[in-house]
Amino acid sequence: MAEGSSNLRTPLILGDKKPKQVSDDICGILDRKPTRMWYIAFLASLLVLGIGTAATVYQVMTGIGTWGLNKTVGWAFDITNFVFWIGIGHAGTLISAILFLFRQKWRTSVNRAAEAMTIIAVMCAAIFPLIHMGRPWLAFWALPYPNMRGPLWVNFRSPLVWDIFAISTYFIISAVFWYVGLIPDLATIRDRAKPGMRKKIMAFFSFGWNGSYRTWVRYEVVYLLLAALATPLVVSVHTIVSMDFATSVIPGWHTTIFPPYFVAGAVFSGFAMVLMLMLIARKVMALEDYFTMTHVDAMCKIILVTGSVVGLAYLTEFVTAAYSGSVYEQFVFMNRAFGPYAWAYWIMVSCNVISPQMMWFKKVRSNLYFVFILTIIVNIGMWFERFVIIVSSLHRDYLPSSWADYTPTIIELLTLAGTFGLFFTLFLLFCRFLPVIAMGEVKGVLSYGRSKKARVFVAQANEPMGVTPVLEGEKA
């Protein structure tokens, strides 16, 4: 490190960049033609999305008999995937809102991509309840609107109705938050672009932003307020999702630990997904200076903490069941761990409890290949967590004569695959057409961990006025 730099903090952005260089690096990605890799990835995602769409159309036209559900297991695949995708989305809001309130400046390199991931993940999630309605064109019946049937209103006491409000609010607020953050960057692209289509589009969507500081003052306040509103919102969303289960009287669901347990699990899986995407993006788009080992390390630590919370929750559930005095409750947990779905349970435990514990070691956190594999393992584990909670609690109910098993049909599997197709298609489009790194925010943290005094001194000692001040790093 150059002389005169602060030893107290490590710089967040490597390479002693100046603001101009940040614009060049990030906008440069958009200026270049897409690589062959991008086309291959995009077409593959599009193909999977197409197959998923076909499966969805088929099941909507034929009816929900195309699923593997039965009288006992009336809820399985759709709700598993719904909770899985909503959980993925939560990391984006955690990074953009909660880390903002805690003044974690390293978030600036990740927040744009993480918020995009949130919005796309919520879209993927929303598909499942829509399909599950059987007649998705009547989805608006779930909203309270004046109608000719009385008017007959929705049941506001039902967590499923809470869910509709929570998910829609979450989607809208996330999209607004993301867009507000994008406006200054869109203006940067607009002012760099040559006259043409892109300049026109960016001019339209950048709302006439010109960097006026009077606007910046208001903008910063609104950004802070949105963060302050989104923070309890993200907690409320997964709390309400967990109440879909917890307010029922099914053993294994009816517990008060669900809200914190679900929120921790959501952050856990979401962070793993963001980290996975960022590790790919970093390599493919050469963002090593922006998304550094410091970022990987910080995100691994959050995965470790939330993973441990999830592990503790699994243990607590068992203790609660053992102590409850309810044979039904005790049976559900024994059946979960040693019954017909024990394989799913133990996949869940090994992926979610054991594998993240490896992140205690610095050697593991600094090995990108290892971290990448761990993020995938965590996501597999978190998918199985939802599957285990839902199916293993239902399939052996109070009446042994109605016990049944559940296996997903090919249609259900293709629908799940289709949402991954949608997710990656939209994410690849985002990487292609919008700045993946929040330029306006990264420029503000360039001086972080770099000595201010040294820089001013060098600048003033330098030649006549009108010459760009030289930063200490360049001198070295």
């Binding site: 309270p144 809208i172 607009r190 006439g208 307020l225 919102l233 409320s236 503000g444 600048a459 009108g466």
Partner: protein, 173 residues
């Protein structure tokens, strides 16, 4: 009404910060600053008043929550009361999650719309740029030329002391 202004351009966040502070200490008034990113503390250095937007957010949130709570009470207890599991018509605890969601929704979306209105931002609006590059890496400081005592030469020297890379006088409409 046209206004004469003095424009100076800086390239470093520390320079604009010091320059803004120095200019204000000289008793000059700053019309506006243009910046590619928000610099912590610059609004204080420039003497800009804090935004009153939190009040808008507060009242928007309050009205969103009140409206939703009223709607749920009215639909469940007045318009068509339905017995759901023997729960009371007015099931206040069960109404709280949605009340909260609507508070967030109305406050969040409303604040952003308020921001757009008060700052004059709208889709397709033409951006009026004081100097090229202020959305990229340049900072522009615009000082009001108040009266005859304004000495452009002194201000120019002051700004150049803080590494201004360009200065000019302008007639602004």
């Amino acid at each position: 009404m046209s206004q004469r202004v003095f424009l100076s351009i800086f390239e470093c966040e520390d320079d604009i910060m010091d320059a803004a502070r120095a200019v204000r200490e000289e008793g000059l008034s700053i019309v506006d600053i243009y910046a590619p990113y928000a610099v912590h503390g610059l609004e204080k250095a420039a003497g800009f008043a804090p935004s009153r937007l939190p009040w808008a957010t507060f009242f928007l949130g309050l009205s969103g929550a009140t409206f939703m709570l009223w709607l749920m009470f009215w639909t469940s207890a007045v318009s068509w009361p339905l017995n759901v599991g023997g729960k009371p018509w007015n099931s206040l605890p069960a109404f709280l999650p949605i009340t909260f969601e609507l508070m967030v929704l109305v406050a969040g979306v409303g604040s952003v719309i308020t921001l757009f209105i008060v700052s004059g931002l709208r889709p397709g609006k033409e951006a009026i740029m004081p100097y090229p590059g202020v959305t990229d890496d340049k900072f522009a400081l615009i000082i009001e030329e108040t009266d005859a005592t304004f000495d452009p030469e002194a201000v120019r020297l002051l700004c150049e002391k803080y590494n201004a890379i360009h200065t000019e006088e302008r007639e602004e409409k």
